[in-house]
């Protein structure tokens, strides 16, 4: 193995080097901007996390698993997983082994950067080392991935994707240059190995690399470096606290535009909403199109399904809530002295908070009360005659200050009651209590969990009915708070249970969500009907849910009975 040229240089390496300098410079600047935009405490947390040995290991493992192997994508779609990991991991290994090869055999050339990239041009007989053979193997792997990518571009249905994003010009340039890089490298290497040292293929290879790197910061491929930063941010516990900035920017940049969220989005039951999925939100974020960002943010139901299917963990709902928070209102209601209602006394008892929506579905509240009585629980109903809102609707509308005023008032009322347990029947309230309330010493529990405990303790005596229910996972209860099992356990005690094709994390929003600020009634109907179609797909003859809003929404259009979980339990239990 010998060097062909003593100079070790040819002008065709210049495009590659220029692209490399450009992309590294831009990414560095972007990273510095994002870090500077973090809140002071978050920034400190992040710096410290980079020194923490456990987090260093975790960051490394996460980056390998998520960015190179694409484990999450494998779980969702094996073909897509193979395609992405073969390109990412294959390419990474070629770069790594290439540098290793130069380090082992020509350590003095390591500083050139371009030697590993154009190895076969500068070195004669390089292909005979073991390391070269492994690299050839990885190149074949990458080429296989690229072939799949080309097939997918024109025939995405065989990958199980109904809809995919329309690429922008930058993305198209990036895509075609990426496709060109590896076949060109393969051809150039093969020619060089056969003794043909014409430089045209090497020029083409270098230019393809240059184009790819130059468009990288402007298109979807920015997700490659951004996701690495995102992983370190996430592991350090950095959250989205500012609209458009800091973590929000990094999340938007980390979106690979894969379009998995388009098929997942429940709004797409109506084609008019096709351009309002999270993938388009991040795209408009990057473009700085504030008007479209506002429009997309306002429309969303905040069901969280895009986040549950997202490969990089872009938090679509949170991005939108903060985008909404950036809006200025002329009138700001003041709730800081709201709630003159006297504090309900409930020393060491269960305090039941039913919430505003349950006031509109009184059967639910009554059933909860009846079950508590049957089980012999000592309780007080905090808002039987009306109470304060939990704050969730203001929170999702982006009116964070007003929401926190309500939260603080409710905290005072709840802590003042002396209760030991706060029982909640509405998952919308429950999520707010879980995420934004500080109630030291008080256990906050949703009735599904609580009644399941009562059942396990033998305090509820069930009689199984012949009916068969399909359980609709409410967004806030399932994806929002991770409660999937206890409702099913309770239903299976009370009656038969069947599953809908899409359930649990993949459950489809009922369309009634408080999350959307701009979807009007008729457009919600389409979403509701699509969600009902999914539930009709089970063999059940009735629908069960555990959210007053889902209940009211489904009851409107459903051709079969819809009941709240509490009502089903109440009907099928007897006093012991």
């Amino acid at each position: 193995m010998t060097e062909r040229f003593t100079t070790g240089f040819h002008p065709f390496v210049i495009p590659f080097l220029a692209g490399m300098v450009f992309v590294l410079g831009v990414c560095l600047i972007k990273a510095v901007i994002a870090v500077r935009e973090l809140d002071g405490t978050d920034r400190k947390k992040w710096f410290l996390s980079l020194l923490h040995p456990n987090l260093i290991v975790k960051n490394t493992i996460d980056i390998i698993l998520d960015c190179l192997i694409h484990v999450r994508l494998w779980k969702r779609n094996r073909l897509l997983g193979f395609m992405h990991s073969s390109i990412a991991f294959g390419w990474f290994m070629i770069i790594l082994l290439g540098h290793l090869q130069v380090l082992m055999f020509f350590p003095e050339r390591l500083g050139t950067f371009y030697y590993p990239i154009f190895f076969d041009y500068f070195i004669e007989g390089g292909q005979h080392t073991w390391i070269s053979r492994i690299m050839d193997g990885f190149l074949i792997l990458v080429l296989a991935g690229i072939s799949l990518a080309i097939i997918k571009r024109f025939w995405s249905r065989i990958f199980g994707m109904r809809r995919t994003t329309r690429p922008t010009l930058y993305n198209l340039i990036g895509l075609y240059s990426l496709w060109a890089i590896f076949p060109l490298r393969f051809l150039a290497e093969q020619c060089a190995r056969a003794g043909d040292l014409s430089v045209s293929l090497w020029w083409a290879y270098s230019i393809a690399l240059c184009i790819f790197m130059v468009v990288l910061p402007f298109g979807r491929y920015l997700h490659i470096p951004a996701e690495m930063l995102l992983i370190t941010f996430r592991n350090a516990g950095v959250g989205i606290t500012r609209p458009h900035k800091g973590m929000a920017r990094v999340q938007a940049d980390s979106c690979p535009n894969c379009g998995v969220c388009i098929d997942a989005c429940p709004m797409n039951a109506d084609p008019a909403n096709l351009k309002d999925s999270t993938v388009y939100l991040t795209r408009q974020f990057r473009r700085g199109n504030r008007e479209r960002v506002r429009e997309i943010s306002d429309k969303c139901l905040l069901c969280g399904k895009c986040t549950s299917v997202c490969q990089v963990g872009v938090d679509g709902p949170r991005l939108r809530i903060l985008a909404r928070a950036a809006r200025k209102y002329n009138i700001a209601p003041d709730f800081s002295d709201a709630g003159t209602a006297t504090v309900v006394r409930a020393e060491n008892k269960v305090l039941y908070f039913s919430g505003c929506m349950t006031a509109l579905t009184p059967k639910t509240g009554r059933s909860v009360e009846s079950i508590l009585k049957k089980a012999g629980i000592d309780y007080e109903w905090m808002d039987r005659d009306g109470g304060l809102c939990c704050g969730r609707p203001l929170h999702t509308a982006g009116r964070l200050k007003e929401a926190s005023q309500l939260v603080r008032r409710n905290e005072e009322l709840i802590i003042g009651s002396g209760a030991a347990v706060l029982l909640v029947s509405c998952p919308i309230c429950y999520r707010e209590f879980k995420e934004n309330y500080r109630l030291p010493g008080i256990r906050v529990v949703h009735y599904a969990d609580y009644f399941c405990e009562l059942m396990d303790k033998g305090l509820l005596c069930f009689e199984k009915s012949d009916a068969c229910y399909v359980f609709h996972d409410p967004c806030e209860l399932g994806r929002g708070c991770g409660i999937y099992e206890t409702p099913r356990k309770l239903i299976s005690k009370a009656a038969g249970i069947a599953e809908a094709p899409k359930n649990r994390e993949e459950s489809i929003c009922c369309g009634g969500s408080l999350g959307s600020l701009s979807l009007d009634f008729s457009r919600r109907e389409k979403i509701t009907r699509a969600s009902l179609e999914n539930l009709y797909g089970s063999k059940a003859d009735a629908i069960a849910t555990a959210c007053p809003l889902c209940l009211a929404t489904f009851s409107r259009y459903s051709d079969r009975p819809v009941k709240d979980l509490a009502q089903i339990i109440d009907e099928q239990t007897e006093k012991i």
Binding site: A359, P362, K363, R556
Partner: protein, 337 residues
Amino acid sequence: MNGNIVIIGGGIAGMEAAKALLALGHTPILVEASRTLGGHVASWHKLFPDMSSAKNLTARLQSEISGANIFTDTRVISLNRLVDGYSLKLSNGIVINASALLFATGFNLFDAAKKEEYGYGVYDRVITNSDLEAWFSGKEDRRVPKVPESIGFVHCVGSRDLKACNGQCSKVCCATAIKQAIEMKERFPYAKVYCFYMDLRLFGKKYEDFYVNAQRDYGIQFIRGRVSEVGETFDGRLQLKAEDTLSGKPLKVCLDLLVLMSGIVRNRSIEELSDMAGLETDSDGFLRSADNEYAVIESNRPGIYYAGACTGPKTVPETVAEARSAALAIHSYLESL
């Protein structure tokens, strides 16, 4: 064809049309699904604005159509279109070939339990307009207290309400609520009576007088604002929350009885039949008239006519007028064959 006329539905529309057709020399066949004739009106106590007895009206009509062929407790189970008419099979096994059909299939009352926030079927003191009429007519109802101190009426329950999947105005409930409020006030002079409305649509002859009387002579209180929710107090009374949109303030009222003005919705049980006949449905869910200005009683099929609330909410005088006009139209149609 034989010149047979089949009238589907034996409410006041069907009966009035039968009467008019008898007078024109025909012998119509009247098919009614329930056991008795008279439809919704037969279960009503008094009619507005003259407070005449609804029973007298239906009984008189019934006596006047004894010459017609009447099948009660009978449904049309299939309907075939022939070249020059229609062939109907009834649930009693009879097959009729008819030259002309009259749809007088009426309406359904909105199921008030669907508006769960009003508590119908949940709380003991909530009834509907039709429950109250039945009680007026002497039917026992333990939900109506012996001496109520305060009574509330909620207008537009399931009408003009997209959330209840009914966008249209039911037309008659404003006047019905006023009529029922007056009747309650007459029975319980010391009770406070409230009407919660979003608009008062008192378009008919003497309706406005009715409204003025209710306020001036009976002291019934009209509050503009939709009821948001109804709860139950510990002693079994009702607590109603609403907004008084004229004063811009939320309000809470304690009630002993709440009456929900269930609106008029399309009769779902005729969907299959209208499909078999090839009739079209309008955007509001009711049967579609040939046009809504000049030809309300005409359908898109030759020989099929409409009368009454099958094409949308109607008052009694409108229904009766349509029935007579449809009878005349059928007569002319048969003459032209």
